[in-house]
Structure formats: C-alpha cells, structure tokens
C-alpha cells in the first residue's frame, strides 16, 4: 500500500509549501481536507514518538487562531463548513498527540498498517496481579484508608511513567528493525498494561471527587 508522503503538500491557492496541511499562512487560506490527514502534518510538526510538547502547544495555538469557525461566520457556507471540519480535526490531532499513550496508539496504527500482531497481549501474570490490586483497592476504599490510597496512587503513577519511558526505545527500534510485528507487540503490551493501571487510578479519582 503506497502512502502519501506525509509532510509535503503545496497550497491549493498560492502554491507555497504548507507547514500545516490545514492552512496556508502565506495566503491565509483554508486547505481542502484529505480523507486520511496525518495528525502531525495537521499540526505542522515532525512526526515521531518523541516530540517537543512546547512546539506542539505553540503550533496548535497558531493554527487554531486562524482556522476557527468564529472567524468564518460571515464567509461562504462552504468555507464555514470547511473551517468547522478543519478545526475539529485540529482538536482531534492535538488531543491524540499531546498524551503519550494516545500518541503511541496513533503511531502504531500508522506504522503497523497492513500488519497483524496480538492486540490483547499482556505481560505474564499481569491479569492476576491486576485482579489482586483491584481487591486491595476495594479494601482500602471501604476502610477509607487515605494514606494507603495515596501510597497506592503514587505507586500506580510511578509504574505508569515507567511504561511511558519504556515506549521511547521501542519506537526507536521500530525505525531500524525488519520484524516490525515483534516490536509492535511489545508496544501493545505496554499500552494494554497502561489501561489496566489507568482503570485503577480512575477508581481512586472518582472516590476523590465524590
């Protein structure tokens, strides 16, 4: 399957090479949307797992400040519609790239196109451990053991961060190895594990806010 080079399109109106595929800053024009817009290109940042969050933030602000439907209230209905769709896409791109686990999921979908790997993979014994952690949490919530909950939360946060930093070498490896599926499965394992940790964390947070 041939993939469109993700970062090289020119403005439909003035021909300038686009920084973001959504908007031309040279002639201030909205660009037509392609059905498979690359989130990185939408934000005008180099693609890859390791990204500069400050740059992401800055780019988002820059582009959002031009695309937003509020600036197209008096434009043609086609332009109005386009600005709405482009802004939606920009928001989705920003939300998906800002969070490292969502970013990893998105990148895996891009890199693993046409490939298959075990999407339910977990580290050995992980499910058993999660089940007993859930039971432990049950007991703490019942006793309203605040210091215990705090310790528990810190521990989970730390493990989550551990998984997060474990993603970087795997994505680097993804660029250099032939057996992509093996690396993708390793990545998948970390992403799956994170969701179990997150569901534990969610229960603590719900408890905090109610």
């Amino acid at each position: 399957m041939s993939e469109e080079p993700s970062h090289s399109r020119c403005c439909e109106r003035c021909g300038t090479e686009l920084v973001s595929c959504l908007f031309c800053f040279d002639c201030s024009s909205l660009q037509p949307l392609s059905p498979s817009t690359n989130y990185f290109y939408a934000l005008g940042i180099p693609d890859g797992f390791e990204l500069d969050l400050t740059l992401l933030e800055e780019q988002f602000r820059q582009i959002a400040g031009e695309l937003h439907p509020d600036f197209y209230m008096n434009s043609s209905s086609a332009e109005k519609k386009l600005s709405g769709r482009a802004s939606t896409l920009l928001n989705q791109a920003y939300d998906n790239l800002k969070d490292s686990f969502k970013r990893a999921t998105y990148l895996m979908r891009l890199k693993g196109k046409g490939l298959e790997w075990n999407e339910r993979v977990l580290p050995p014994g992980f499910l058993e451990e999660m089940f007993s952690l859930q039971e432990e949490l049950d007991a703490m919530l019942e006793k309203q053991d605040q210091p215990g909950l705090k310790r528990f939360q810190d521990l989970l946060d730390k493990r989550r961060r551990g998984l997060e930093s474990g993603l970087i070498p795997l994505f680097r490896m993804l660029e250099s190895v032939k057996e992509l599926e093996v690396v993708l499965e390793q990545l998948q394992m970390k992403l799956n594990a994170e969701r179990y940790l997150q569901s534990l964390l969610d229960r603590i947070q719900v408890e905090e806010t109610t």
Binding site: R120, L127, Q134, Y196, S199
Partner: protein
C-alpha cells in the same frame, strides 16, 4: 420482567458475587480481561458429575460487564459443562429495542465461562494423569 429491566436488576443487585477456594475439588477458575477498558473479571464454577452446581464471580470495570457476569453465572448454574461451553444468548425478548453494549463487555462473560471450564478440565486431567 423485560430483558433490559432484568439486566438493570443484575447491575443494581449482582447475584453470585464472591469466590470459591481455587484449589478445591471440582472448581474451575477463569480470569479474563478487556484491555480496551482495563476491565478484569474472575468467574468460578463448581462442578459435580459434569454438572455446574454453583458459580461465583467478581468483576472490576464497566457496569454492563458486571451485569453480564451476574447474568452469566445465573444462566450457567444447573447446566452440564458441555451445554455451558456452547453458551449463547438466545433469550426470548419481549422488546427488541434495547440500548447497545460496549463490544468488550459483550464477550467478557462468555470468555470467562470458557476459561473457567477449560481450567476445570485441565485440573481434572492433570489429577487423573497424576493419580
């Protein structure tokens, strides 16, 4: 009771919550998870003469996963292990319009029953081969 009411009932008051001693005779344990949501479910059956005489579960996660485990344990009781293996939702419904379910919730209970049965069979086989 309408099917949807029954499900809500099972959410509000889940039946058969709890556990059996894992190593007791005739007990099969299934532990399954749904990485989509981080749900984890443990379902246990107690078998006497190839009949499931009791079932218990504990589920952490989505409400509908809890409701469906509760329904599944009710359903499985009194069935032979072969019948339970071919679990199917052939409930007669009074009203065919129901809210949907999350995809992973729809399979979690079924997976758990199958895992519990296969655990039971494995333990039984290893006992016979040892003894």
């Amino acid at each position: 009771m309408a099917y949807s009411e029954k499900v809500i009932d099972h959410y509000n008051e889940p039946r058969n919550v709890g556990s059996f001693e894992k190593n007791d005779e005739g007990v099969g344990t299934g532990l399954v998870g749904a990485p989509e949501c981080g749900d984890v479910m443990k379902l246990q059956i107690k078998v006497e003469k190839d009949q499931i005489v009791d079932a218990k579960f504990k589920t952490f996660g989505c409400g509908s996963a809890i409701a469906s485990s509760s329904l599944a344990t009710e359903w499985v009781k009194g069935k032979s292990i072969d019948e339970a293996m071919s679990i199917q939702n052939t409930e007669i419904v009074e009203e065919l319009s129901l809210p949907p379910v999350k995809i992973h919730c729809s399979v979690l209970a079924e997976d758990a029953i199958k895992a519990a049965i296969s655990d039971y069979k494995n333990r039984k086989n290893s006992e016979t081969s040892e003894g």
